[in-house]
């Protein structure tokens, strides 16, 4: 059977692929009327695991055993399917029968109905946006149909802890082909694809690789940035958890093209599952001789190690990340020299992020032209977005670059929760910007976003509605960058502190005339003069909210009002004496005893005691309490 035995030629890899293919034999949509065999795919991404998917696996296994079905049904745990909102997800193949929010007690019914009766359990299907039309299969779901899942093709489809499934699906054919093409042709192919770094500013990957290929110093290092730190982004985590071999293969191709012989994946310690699965993939790849010396019988050798980050956002900056691998404080250094010339241990180094590497194998197998079929001229390919916040369908969305924000938020992710009104979308994490409704139809690609004063960042989209205060949101981001500033350069260390002080003052009802100008002045200094991108981009959330939501700032400063009703210092809770029935429920629930009143008489809130927690408003059954 399938053995983890060293592969010494491309032919052996091809042979192994043939042998492994049956592993995926059931994973198609044609379910026969009297389907004999089934495979159950359970989402083992972080989202679904924390919703209890491993208990469901056990329950399903018990149900299989109870019904004596182990010859007909087996369970595969996969990586993230991306539709985290509905987890835990359970999919039956053939047919791609899609069950959502499954609980252990559903197991028996699922097995009996789906396997034994050949039907489906209607109540466990996604009920569509209207809540009335059950979607039976993957293929019936708009959330998936509107996407183009190329990088995510394996996520949720294969067992990430089994390299044979990856190989069965065409895995490691990219490096096999690249070895045949030669280093230069490989480099040229990636260059021609126009692939741009998926982790931040969108620097052309092929160009970066060419810089390093031209260097003569040895050894050269190929690094993968898996220190995904932007709050609101989890695409790298999902790729590592769902398809770790794709990242390894991308790094292999990069190393081959640039002459790198050693590599590290720098991954956040906060991602234990990603570290575990990457470790398994790496061990299996090593056993197959896909990592190590003389890969697939060639003269190409590449050694790869995993380094765990230790909790510092700034280590996403390339020079800081290299310092961290060296065992030092992760403080960025001035560039140039750029890492392609002098990077890790002063040697030529290329750093790309997880998603970038996950794109590479397909560029080689299908060619640069095929890659360019998607996306725009200057931003070719697809991009994964992590859509979170106040949308109905949070999750991972992969679409060609250049589609509109509206398409992502309203078509794919089904719009805003609770019929609330869209207010803004925050893109690019702490370095990014908040874009208003008027920009929803702008295309999403590197250059359009930059032109709009935002940036792609890693692709986190946090959607906010009218209940979100934009000043508070800006304050939130500054709190984050201020805490994550390494403290090395003055503008970032001191400037972010002072900007935060002003924002806190404004949110606390102490805003003064001139505060907005002061924010703009500090922002300018930070942008122009900070040492690294963290400090240079830290003012973006403030600048973009000032640009598009200036009136909210003015309301806070001049009218001492928070229009979204978020900044507690600017709020007051009032009881409408007309509506109050004197039921005393609010007074009994007030944690600080701020509400007084006699039974059956209108109650009163003492504003000096009130801590504005909102409990009274939640508890009132008569709608008598309002926030002003």
């Amino acid at each position: 059977m399938l053995e983890l035995k060293r592969l010494t030629s491309v032919d052996e890899l091809n042979k192994l692929q043939e042998e492994a293919r049956p592993l995926l034999g059931l994973r198609h949509y044609n379910r026969a009327a009297n389907q004999e065999k089934y495979q159950i795919l359970i989402c083992g991404g972080t989202g679904c695991t924390s919703s209890g998917s491993m208990n469901i696996r056990d329950a399903l296994q018990a149900a299989i055993d109870n019904n004596d079905l182990h010859d007909r049904v087996n369970i595969v745990v996969t990586g993230c399917h991306g539709f985290c909102e509905l987890g835990p997800l359970v999919i039956f193949y053939p047919g791609g029968i899609f069950y959502v929010r499954v609980q252990p007690e559903d197991a028996e019914e699922l097995i009996k109905t789906t396997v034994l009766e050949g039907k489906t359990v209607e109540r466990l299907h996604y009920q569509g946006r209207t809540g009335k039309t059950p979607r039976h299969s993957y293929r019936d779901m708009l959330f998936y149909n509107l996407q183009k899942r190329l990088v995510l093709r394996n996520c949720g489809r294969i067992d990430p802890e089994n390299i044979f499934e990856y190989i069965a699906n065409g895995g490691y054919q990219g490096i096999a082909k690249a070895l045949g093409m030669g280093r230069e042709a490989t480099l040229e192919e990636v260059y021609n694809s126009g692939l741009r770094g998926r982790g931040g500013a969108g620097f052309p990957t092929g160009l970066k690789w060419k810089f390093m290929a031209a260097e003569t110093a040895e050894p050269k290092y190929m690094l993968c940035n898996a220190d995904e730190g932007d709050p609101g982004a989890f695409m790298d985590r999902s790729v590592l958890e769902g398809d770790p071999n794709a990242v390894i293969e991308g790094m292999l191709i990069g190393a081959w093209a640039t002459g790198a012989t050693e590599g590290y994946v720098y991954v956040r310690a906060e991602y234990p599952l990603a570290i575990k699965r990457l470790g398994i993939a790496l061990a299996e790849a090593e056993a197959l001789g896909l990592i190590g010396d003389n890969i697939l019988g060639s003269d190409f050798s590449f050694h790869l190690k995993i380094k765990q980050g230790a909790g510092a956002f700034v280590c996403g900056e390339e020079t800081a990340l290299m310092r961290s691998i060296e065992g030092k404080r992760g403080m960025p250094r001035v560039r140039p020299p750029f890492p392609a010339k002098r990077g890790l241990w002063e040697k030529p180094t290329v750093l790309n992020n997880v998603e970038t590497f996950a794109n590479v194998a397909r560029i080689i197998t299908d060619g640069a032209e095929a890659f360019r079929q998607d996306g725009t001229e200057k931003s070719p390919g697809t991009k994964i977005f992590a859509v979170t916040g106040k949308v109905r369908n949070t999750g991972l969305v992969e679409i060609p670059m250049g589609v509109s924000m509206r398409h992502i938020i309203f078509d794919i992710c089904a719009g805003i929760k609770n019929e609330n009104k869209f207010k803004a979308v925050q893109i690019g994490g702490p370095s990014g910007a908040c874009l208003p409704a008027s920009m929803l139809d702008n295309p999403v690609d590197y250059d359009s976003l930059t032109a709009a004063g935002a940036m792609m960042g890693s692709g986190g989209l946090v959607v906010v509605d009218e209940d979100t205060c934009m000043v508070d949101l800006a304050r939130f981001f500054l709190t984050f960058t201020q805490a994550e500033s390494c403290g090395k350069c003055t503008p970032c260390r001191e400037g972010s502190k002072r900007m935060l002080e002003i924002l806190e003052r404004i949110c606390g009802g102490e805003g003064r005339d001139g505060d907005i100008e002061e924010l703009e002045r500090l922002a300018h200094t930070m942008r122009t003069s900070s040492l690294c991108a963290l400090g240079q981009t830290a003012p973006n959330p403030v600048l973009s909210t000032l640009r598009f939501f200036r009136s909210e700032y003015e309301a806070h400063i001049h009218d001492k009002k928070c229009p979204a009703g978020v900044c507690t210092k600017l709020l007051q809770y009032r009881i409408d004496p007309e509506k109050c029935k004197g039921c005393t429920l609010c007074a009994r629930n007030c944690p600080v005893g701020a509400i007084t009143g006699k039974v059956r008489e209108p109650h009163l809130i003492n504003p000096n005691k009130c801590i504005k927690c909102g409990t009274c408003m939640d508890k009132c059954k008569h709608g008598a309490i309002s926030r002003v």
């Binding site: 972080t46 989202g47 695991t49 924390s50 919703s51 985290c84 909102e85 987890g87 995904e228 730190g229 932007d230 709050p231 609101g232 982004a233 989890f234 985590r237 956040r268 310690a269 906060e270 991602y271 234990p272 380094k307 765990q308 980050g309 230790a310 909790g311 510092a312 956002f313 961290s324 691998i325 060296e326 065992g327 030092k328 404080r329 992760g330 403080m331 241990w345 992590a386 979170t388 916040g389 106040k390 949070t394 999750g395 925050q426 994490g429 986190g460 946090v462 906010v464 979100t468 949101l473 939130f476 981001f477 984050f480 805490a483 994550e484 390494c486």
Partner: protein, 161 residues
């Protein structure tokens, strides 16, 4: 600020085992060694850091600099259970602050502190990357998602058994 200098000498034998594979080539070893040492001792006492410094030939001031730079490292003993409440954007807009308050209230500690009975340490974390489930927190290796403040006492108490 004071750092824990243990009253009783700590057993450095496990540390020596951790250090062994790195002594020949200490390049880049500091952070992995600190991570493993913290796994063993629960935190990083001064003696442990001094030993690491001299064995890896890194100035002790630099070791101190590294330990205080990264959020992962701790110079003082911590609780049996580590509660990490996510402060990411998605959690923020879905009420993460209320979760932190509920945990803080239930345990009667502020972020960064350990309960008197050493059962829990409360921390905040920038983003756990489980934004689809916001608001979330992690207790030890377990992620808890779609939280409301009312869920907190039950979840935390389940770790006491």
């Amino acid at each position: 600020m004071s750092f824990n200098r243990t009253a009783n000498a700590i057993d450095l034998a496990p540390l020596m085992d951790i250090l062994k594979p790195y002594k020949q080539n200490p390049r880049g070893a500091l952070i992995p060694v600190l991570q493993q040492a913290q796994d063993v001792y629960g935190y990083l006492p001064q003696e442990v850091l001094e030993t690491i410094a001299s064995e890896l030939r890194v100035p002790v001031a630099e070791v101190f600099g590294v330990v205080t730079f990264y959020a992962q490292f701790h110079l003082n003993p911590r609780g049996k259970n580590i509660v990490r409440v996510c402060q990411g954007t998605a959690c923020h807009v879905r009420g993460g602050a209320g979760i932190l308050e509920a945990v803080s209230h239930h345990l009667d500690v502020k972020p960064g502190e350990t309960t008197k009975d050493l059962n829990f340490t409360l921390e905040t974390v920038a983003c756990l990357g489980a934004c689809g489930l916001a608001p979330v927190m992690m207790v030890n290796e377990n992620t808890h998602g779609r939280l409301t403040p009312d869920d907190i006492p039950g979840i935390l108490d389940s770790y006491l058994a």
